[in-house]
């Protein structure tokens, strides 16, 4: 049962490739998610276009380059850049992935999983405390789509998240597409995952659509988080299930490929809003029944 029934803000992840289209359709979104790394690595025009949105529409801040899971002290230079951007965007929260992307001398630019153990969780908790001392807004961890598993992992995905969030005070940015892909690729029940999260821990949601890929030695097609296609129906079922247990402030549709398929983006947003409306109707209906008793 959700803690409140206010409608979450629905929007998209801002992408420079559809800057003009996004600006022309601002009234279709309640929120835009800005990836701070796009500001850090983007050109001046891209940064200016992002900063121009401040005050015109609520923005939330997301990161992909912190690599909090690298077994080293936090990259404070990166973190301070992120902190300045979070402040400039007036973002109510800052999210990053529970993952690592780089080690000294190599940056894969792709999110890699961590061994799910208590020792790794403890190290992450210490880093989140340091992070929160530099970035004053709530910090959220996003679940990644992991291609492989470390053999020493002895916690499940949800146990790992719960341990870290309980100890660090971080919330969750639940990527429902990633949850669906991991469940399919690694063989677990995504609804059980949602049941096992403490109610209210999910503060934001990502939606997206991926594709199936094949590869040498893979026994069956692998579902990849390509952000290239409409969100599959099963992820909308998972969204409805999540909404009934959590009260996310924002639902963000991510799209990084086939950005010219604007109809698909708007179609996904419509389906997400319909899902939210159905949940609101049900939540208010339940409340009315309760008050009549």
């Amino acid at each position: 049962m959700a803690q409140r029934s206010a409608a979450p803000a629905v929007g998209i992840g801002y992408r420079a490739g559809i800057r003009d289209w996004t600006r022309a359709h601002l009234d279709r979104f309640d929120v835009l998610e800005v990836t701070v790394d796009h500001c850090i690595h983007g050109d001046r025009a891209q940064r200016a276009a992002i900063f121009d949105l401040v005050g015109r529409i609520p923005l939330t801040a997301h990161g992909i380059g912190l690599s909090i899971g690298t077994d080293m002290p936090l990259d404070l230079a990166y973190l301070d850049q992120a902190a300045r951007l979070v402040e400039r965007l007036d973002a109510p929260a800052y999210s990053e992935h529970l993952a690592f992307t780089r080690v000294p001398g190599r940056d894969l630019g792709n999110l890699l999983p961590l061994p799910k153990t208590e020792a790794v969780a403890e190290a992450i908790v210490a880093k989140v405390r340091a992070l929160r001392s530099r970035i004053p807004v709530p910090f959220l961890f996003e679940n990644i789509a992991s291609v492989f598993e470390w053999p020493e992992s002895n916690l499940s995905d949800v146990e790992f998240f719960n341990l870290i969030c309980a100890e660090s005070g971080a919330g969750i940015l639940l990527d429902i597409e990633n949850l669906y892909l991991n469940a399919a690729n690694h063989g677990f029940d995504p609804f059980e995952f949602l049941d096992s999260l403490p109610p209210g821990l999910v503060k934001q949601v990502h939606m997206a659509g991926g594709m199936a890929v094949t590869g040498d030695g893979l026994p069956r097609p692998f579902l990849a988080d390509s952000h290239s296609h409409p969100a599959p129906a099963v992820t909308l079922d998972l969204l409805a299930y999540a909404l009934a247990r959590h009260a996310p402030a924002a639902i963000v549709l991510e799209r990084d490929d086939r950005l010219d398929a604007a109809d698909e983006i708007l179609g996904d947003l419509e389906r997400i809003r319909a899902c939210v409306d159905a949940w609101l109707k049900e939540a208010h209906g339940e409340a009315a029944v309760g008050s009549a008793d």
Partner: protein
């Protein structure tokens, strides 16, 4: 004694960025001891995803170069993977790495077509100009004083001394019939995100190359007309 996680993460990234993992060249050779227990097929998939993402960034900067590499492209990309692991997530950093790799290769192996180095240099310059221009002007930190007119090369303008006149290839020409071998001093600027390529007289190229910092206008009294022309073209910044 258990190995540090960092050491294992380093080994993992070394493997994921290797040709063995990306192209499956390592066959069934045993995985490094630090990676044993991880599914090899999944690691190769991860390596492929990451490599494709990196090459997409590079190809976005070098579309014409990639086309011109033709049948050699596969071998060049393999060589690049082995010689240049990804150091940074940024598009420009990866593009510079690729350009440096090509330049080193072309020192020992003649490029085909011969104007390929100029095309690559121009494409990199277009991307660089786009990154460095089109923004808020930098704050001038020089001490306040009597305002004397001065000028400098506009930030974001990139100079390329090409050995071939390859401008036609950037203006939509599909074949290289128009490419002529001749010294071609170029200035590349970006206006509203679109690259603009100018051919300069050699002495103007040298003048712009020397104008990294501010210079007094009266130091070159006979260039008033030229300065106005370069300012109009967005190659020079004039301050009164």
């Amino acid at each position: 004694m258990a190995k540090r996680l960092l050491d294992r993460q380093i080994r993992l990234l070394e493997y994921l960025t290797s040709g063995g993992a990306i192209f499956g060249d390592d066959g069934n050779a045993p995985l490094d001891a630090d990676l044993q227990g991880i599914d090899r097929a999944r690691l190769r998939l991860e390596a492929r995803f990451s490599h494709e993402k990196r090459m997409e960034k590079i190809a976005a900067v070098f579309p014409r170069t990639f086309d011109l590499l033709g049948a050699e492209r596969g071998a060049i990309v393999r060589g690049f993977v082995e010689a240049c692991p990804p150091l940074d997530i940024g598009r420009m950093e990866n593009a510079r790495q690729f350009n440096d790799f090509l330049t080193a290769r072309w020192r020992v192996q003649r490029p085909t077509p011969p104007y390929l180095p100029d095309v690559a240099a121009c494409e990199l310059a277009c991307a660089q100009a786009r990154i460095e221009s089109d923004g808020e002007p930098e704050i001038d930190a020089s001490p306040a004083g009597p305002a004397a007119p001065r000028f400098r090369r506009k930030p974001g303008v990139v100079l390329v001394r090409a050995s071939f006149d390859i401008r036609m290839l950037f203006e939509g020409a599909r074949d290289d019939a128009a490419v002529i071998k001749r010294d071609t001093p170029l200035a590349i600027a970006s206006r509203d995100g679109a690259p603009q390529i100018f051919e300069l007289a050699p002495e103007v190229f040298d003048l712009l190359a020397a104008l990294d910092g501010w210079a007094a206008v009266d130091s070159l009294p006979e260039t008033d007309g030229l300065i106005a022309e370069l300012v109009d073209a967005g190659l020079l910044e004039l301050q009164h």
